[in-house]
């Protein structure tokens, strides 16, 4: 009698485990073949679920997405994710067959891993499918036509005016090599700003600058937001390589912090493309995701909303806030788009991290 019970128990547990499995992996989603078909299917799907670092405020997200929702009546669900580790975690979940999002904005250094594990659907003929409805600049489409970018990120410095005297306000990248700044500034361990510097300054000069910066014994933090919170709270005087839009967004949300944090764009402003996204093969709402991404990359859709709402305008598009600011400052901008490929960025990041004295990885 005990033997059957034993076998039965084994079977029950095995069934529960198997039945509890995540979504099946690998089935290609079905996309509409025309814009009208895509819209029809997207409306049937009814919702698009995505994750990004675009906004931590639901009201701000609602303002960004409002034109899309009003135009198509498709709902959205946005989850805030911060940092490379959250994108890596999502990659693991996808590999394990679990897909909670239709797309995410991933960091460029992880794109090769996503591509290697075959996570993205496509390629898509963006102009052919959406060109009549949206104005899409091909500059924002990846070479393999699976992914898009929206807007850009400009890097500079943030400082606390209560801790930095007027004569020490940084105006250029090399200011932080002054002995006064030793131990007084934060560097975020994601080397985005410096990877953007690399194609323009060259390898030797950039890595020398990295070694010189590391010799100034900076404080190392792993997120821009926690670094900014540290400046506002008076713990850290400044951040080098700070993301301009994060600072301005935080000051928009918390005007009382304006006396504690000032964003400075230096004489050389390096920018990178933002919102690298592609539809996942395992997406539950693939057409809604594709339509949303097409809207995001369009000039009057996401590009305009990012510029207006979260200070992430494209530095090469006339009329954006960042272009006006750079013109006013007389600063020179060094933009990076898809020509700075994810593979290149991953390699550059390795070299920068090694120059900092941290494990370079393999």
């Amino acid at each position: 009698m005990r033997k059957p019970i034993f076998i039965l128990s084994l079977l029950m547990i095995f069934s529960m485990v198997v039945l509890g499995s995540g979504e099946a992996v690998g089935k290609e989603p079905v996309f509409g073949k025309t814009y009208e078909e895509i819209v029809k299917l997207a409306k049937e799907e009814g919702i698009v679920e995505f994750a990004s670092g675009m906004s931590s405020d639901d009201r701000l997200t609602a303002r960004i997405m409002k034109p899309f929702v009003e135009k198509y009546g498709i709902k959205y669900k946005h989850t805030l994710i911060i940092g490379t580790e959250s994108r890596e975690r999502i990659l693991f979940e996808l590999i394990a067959g679990r897909c909670d999002y239709d797309f995410i904005n991933t960091t460029p250094v992880l794109i090769p891993k996503y591509l290697k594990t075959n996570q993205y659907a496509g390629p898509f003929d963006w102009q052919g499918l959406f060109g009549k409805e949206f104005k899409i600049n091909p500059r924002f489409i990846s070479p393999d036509k699976r992914m898009i970018t929206v807007g850009g990120t400009a890097f500079g410095f943030t400082y606390n005016p209560k801790l930095v005297p007027k004569e020490r306000i940084p105006r250029s990248w090399n200011d932080f090599l002054d002995p006064w700044w030793k131990g007084k500034f934060v560097i975020v361990t994601r080397p985005l700003a410096f990877a953007a510097m690399y194609p323009h300054r060259g390898k030797e000069e950039t890595l020398k600058y990295m070694r010189d910066l590391a010799a100034q014994k900076p404080i190392w933090l792993n997120s821009f937001n926690s670094a900014l919170a540290g400046v506002i709270s008076g713990e850290f005087p400044a951040i080098v390589g700070m993301n301009r839009s994060d600072v301005l967004n935080q000051l928009d949300r918390s005007p009382e912090a304006k006396s504690s944090a000032v964003m400075v764009l230096p004489d050389e402003v390096y920018t990178v493309a933002y919102f690298h996204s592609g539809v996942f093969k395992q997406a539950k709402h693939p057409n809604a995701a594709l339509l949303a991404l097409a809207w995001f990359v369009s000039e009057n859709g996401g590009q305009k909303q990012f510029d207006k709402e979260i200070h992430r305008g494209d530095p090469l598009t006339p009329g954006t806030e960042i272009v006006a600011t750079l013109k006013k400052l007389g600063a020179k901008s060094y933009p990076n788009g898809w020509e700075l490929t994810p593979e290149m960025e991953a390699q550059i990041s390795k070299e920068i991290v090694q120059a900092w004295g941290m494990p370079k990885g393999r």
């Binding site: 005990r2 033997k3 019970i5 034993f6 128990s9 084994l10 547990i13 485990v17 198997v18 509890g20 499995s21 995540g22 931590s56 989850t79 805030l80 911060i82 940092g83 490379t84 580790e85 890596e88 975690r89 693991f92 979940e93 590999i95 394990a96 067959g97 679990r98 909670d100 250094v109 290697k116 801790l163 361990t189 994601r190 404080i219 190392w220 933090l221 792993n222 997120s223 821009f224 937001n225 926690s226 670094a227 919170a229 540290g230 506002i232 709270s233 008076g234 713990e235 005087p237 935080q250 009382e256 912090a257 504690s260 990041s349 390795k350 991290v353 941290m358 494990p359 990885g361 393999r362």
Partner: protein
């Protein structure tokens, strides 16, 4: 040769009879051993593989060659040993002093002090570390701001400090005061139960109180003290939250944060090297655990309680008792009150600002309204509750069955089972998390669909806590005579019925105390959930860290305040169970 075959056949028949007799029990033991051994094996295997763990590209010792050539590895190893050594010494000094004061002297409010010393046990390490970052940050830390104000009055003008928590010294200080409760719990019983005859003999020979303490009391209790110190050293070696919050900003790595750094922060992430560090850390921890077990066996019969009747003697310390109480109050201030106050201050501001008249004007309770209306906190609370209850219940039932097999059965190899059940103590939480990632990304476990669910966190925490559960159940079961169970067998009760209807009710106080302790451990767990959490499976401790990482210090403070408020009554419940078990007056 024939004799050997006959012996082997006999063992096999015994094993098969045992399997036939207790199939469910064996199945559960199989699951438990898988939980312990499969992650360890996965980490070791990944350390010898090339490429991403989910897409290995071959075998190589390249990870070992790379990892062992990293200067940072040796720095991290040294920092780990220094932190553990100095932190344990600080904890030991303070804990022994308090144990002596509370159990052997007439210090006032001793019972209250006993209860209050438990509270730090329930505080998640991340909460403690982040609150001290706000208190002793070199520029904005509230204590530093106050000290600079005082020093200004005396003409000493500093722009930073005078104390910098982001240093190895700062980490040692925090680790030291945090470890006091653990050592206190492990040694206070010995102080209470020690026969005072030796101390009386010392006093009769005109030795003073201090002299008696250092030359009689402590040497007599040395085995207990050494065991407690070793256990605390092991916990300190695997410490993760303090080095994460305090060490990383200062580029001070320990082995646990090095593993986290190169799998979560550094780009690109390197799982091979991380697994090498994990293997090395596990190896060192295993050596420590073996030494600890040796010490347990060797000193288990070391008697401080004799057959003669005695009354524990309280030593009057005269006017020093108020100073003693003041020292205890100071410790409680550092450990609980100050962290709570700074978090409460932070929770009342829209954005964290140092204390000033301007920032006082911004104080309001809107963060509390937001946290209860936003979905994140309620989801984290519900997840924490599920994780806590399921982990504690599953771990304790598995521990009960495992301990029954080890102590009551005649199964060949039960000693090996007991050793294997102790093994998780040598696996730091961060390694458990990493190991489960490795396991559930690979075939066939990636088919289970458990990755990214609450279950994978629960399984990780069961693995972490099973060793404690089995130790408690082993001690409890051996105290119950077999004849009670034999009587049940005579009445034709099944094994399962006997365990749950006879044995469990008899050892329920121990079971319940261990359940509460495991629940507290699961509730404050951080490193395992941090490595394994997913979109909707974060718990309160990781939610606090997420808010901090997002720059929302105020929201992180709200979570911290609520955590402390919830955990305090639970620790008093734990204290009550301990009182019931030991028969002490509450």
């Amino acid at each position: 040769m024939l004799l050997k075959i006959a012996i082997l056949r006999k063992r096999w028949n015994e094993l098969w009879l045992f399997l036939k007799r207790y199939p469910l029990m064996i199945l559960m033991m199989g699951i438990l051993l898988c939980l312990i051994l499969v992650p360890i094996i996965a980490v070791i295997i990944t350390s010898f593989q090339v490429g991403h763990p989910a897409m290995p590209e071959g075998w190589s010792t390249d990870s070992y060659r790379y990892a062992l050539k990293l200067p940072l590895f040796y720095k991290a190893a040294l920092n780990t040993i220094i932190l553990a050594g100095v932190g344990t010494s600080i904890s030991l000094s303070i804990a022994l002093f308090f144990a002596w004061l509370i159990e052997r002297t007439d210090m006032p409010c001793r019972d209250l002090a006993w209860c209050l010393l438990l509270i730090p046990l329930a505080m998640p390490g991340v909460l403690f570390a982040l609150s001290w970052a706000l208190l002793l940050g070199p520029r904005g830390g509230i204590i530093n701001v106050f000290l600079r104000y005082i020093m200004d009055i005396f003409g000493i003008h500093l722009t930073t400090g005078p104390i910098n928590i982001y240093s190895l010294g700062g980490m040692m200080f925090l680790d030291g005061i945090r470890g006091v409760s653990t050592i206190f719990l492990m040694t206070v019983g010995a102080f209470r139960m020690m026969d005072p005859a030796l101390e009386e003999a010392a006093r009769a020979s005109k030795a003073g109180r201090v002299s008696t303490l250092f030359r009689v009391t402590l040497p007599v209790l040395m085995p207990t003290i050494l065991l407690a110190a070793m256990f605390r050293f092991v916990l300190s070696m695997e410490s993760f939250e303090l080095p994460l919050a305090i060490g990383l900003p200062a580029n001070i790595f320990t082995l646990s944060t090095l593993i986290f750094f190169i799998t979560r922060i550094n780009q690109p992430m390197d799982y091979g090297a991380a697994c090498v560090f994990a293997v090395i850390l596990m190896f060192f921890m295993l050596l420590l655990i073996i030494a600890y077990r040796y010490g347990l066996r060797r000193y288990a019969s070391y008697a401080t309680v004799t057959g003669k009747g005695y009354r524990p003697r309280v030593i009057p310390i005269g006017k020093w008792r108020y100073l003693a109480l003041l020292m205890f109050i100071l410790y409680f201030l550092f450990m609980v009150v100050l962290p709570f106050l700074v978090l409460f201050w932070g929770s009342l501001l829209p954005v964290y600002l140092p204390f000033s008249l301007e920032s006082l004007k911004l104080v309001n309770f809107s963060n509390y309204i937001e946290i209860f209306t936003a979905g994140r906190f309620s989801l984290a609370l519900w997840n924490t509750l599920q994780v806590t209850v399921v982990t504690a219940t599953a771990a304790m039932f598995l521990a009960l069955i495992a301990s029954w097999i080890v102590t009551r059965s005649e199964l060949y190899g039960r000693g090996i089972l007991d050793t294997l059940l102790f093994l998780p103590l040598s696996i730091p939480g961060i390694v458990v998390g990493l190991a489960f990632v490795m396991v559930f990304l690979k075939f066939p476990f990636n088919l289970t669909g458990l990755y990214g669910t609450l279950w994978i966190i629960i399984l990780g925490l069961i693995t972490q806590n099973i060793a404690f559960g089995t130790r408690v159940m082993n001690s409890a079961i051996v105290q119950i005579h077999k004849e009670l169970e034999e009587a049940a067998f005579v009445c034709k009760a099944s094994q399962a019925k006997t365990i749950f209807a006879i044995t469990l009710p008899l050892l329920f106080p121990s079971f319940a105390a261990a359940w509460v302790w495991t629940a507290i451990s699961a509730m404050r767990a951080f490193s395992v959930p941090l490595m394994l959490e997913s979109k909707n499976t974060y718990v309160l401790a990781t939610l606090m860290w997420a808010y901090w990482d997002e720059g929302s210090i105020s929201m992180a403070s709200v979570v911290g305040v609520l955590l402390i408020v919830v955990l305090i009554p639970i620790t008093f419940l734990f204290r009550r169970f301990i009182v019931n078990i030991s028969g002490q007056q509450g």
